[in-house]
Amino acid sequence: MLNATAQTPRHSSSAELITLGRAGEALRDKETQLVAWLRKAGSVLIGFSGGVDSAYLSAVALETLGADHVLAVIGRSASYPAEQWTRARDVAAHLGLPVLELDTAELADPRYASNPVNRCYFCKSELWSRLAPVAKERGLRVVCDGTNADDVHDYRPGAAAAREWEIASPLAEHALTKDEIRTLSRLRDLPTWDIPSSPCLSSRLPYGTAVTPERLAQVEHAERALRVLGVRGDLRVRHHGALARVELPAAELADWLSPERSRQLHRAVSEAGFQRVAIDLRGFRSGSLNVLGGVAP
């Protein structure tokens, strides 16, 4: 335990919030309410990915409750790239956050592996079935996730599993949007404030395409290679069998469509085992396969 004593919550940098005017006041109010909610909870277990949302929630929880009353749990799944676990560990170490790592096995569940439109429900059911007993054993009163206010409007079948396991979503509950969480994270100097979102690799497979370790590895390999080539913002390699459809940040599209850059991109993605490579002309779109799958407009 690196910090067993709760600190007086300092809120996100007061001076900077003042410069944000009314928006800053609204943010301060939301964070104050979040702190009050955490105090009332008393102790929390947080499903931790090291991403923007769970890192912010963990930072506020740690500051409010102290390290004896907070545990961040990293669910290690084959459906996440190895880099994500490394980043989660690094972020936790940066924050001084107590961490536990657990393996999850959703790929062994045929209901998940067949990749139905409610695939996320089976993943989250597996995750919470592992985390809830840990909270009970350790006397942590509330299990939380990093769902934010924007997520509530998305197609998220995993939310049903969270409800079944009585998982709290304090960021969403206090109407904190992704942009607001990024702002508050920046004001707290959290290293996560500007990192791209990183949903699981299964989200790159169209519904109905079986989730297999081989396909996930292809996607992971291709995305890693494109990062090495210099893609900076949101990136997804969507797996359409022999064809990879690459979604790039809109601001980078023109560059990657040039002959030289598209040649590099083709080579990098082909080496991951795709026979054909295509660049999506609209660029990155969150939930792109939900649209193709007919579950989102």
């Binding site: 359409h240 064809l243 459809r245 690459v246 599209l253 023109a254 560059d255 469509l257 040039s258 002959p259 598209s262 040649r263 991109l265 083709h266 080579r267 082909s270 054909r276 490579v277 295509a278 660049i279 999506d280 002309l281 609209r282 792109s288 649209v291 193709l292």
Partner: protein, 73 residues
């Protein structure tokens, strides 16, 4: 509608020589000449608009498609 043939004709009118391969609501544009360059944002927007009218929600451009003159990597 989702008609690749009609989409090809409308894209040709924009100066794009491509074969359109429909995968449900996703259409893959396969260049048939070397000169296909969609780096221009205005042209890209026009292509997306035409494809949307043709019933496609996702449009991608195959890069270095086999059989496209000098496009082999």
């Amino acid at each position: 509608m989702n008609s690749p043939l009609e989409l090809e004709q409308r894209l040709a009118a924009l100066g794009l020589n491509v074969r359109a391969e429909a995968l449900d609501r996703h259409v893959v544009l396969v260049p048939t000449t070397d000169s296909t360059n969609l780096a221009d944002a205005g042209l890209r927007a026009a292509v997306l608009a035409v494809a949307r009218e043709a019933g496609f929600s996702h449009v991608s451009l195959e890069v270095f498609a086999p059989g496209c003159a000098s496009s082999s990597p």
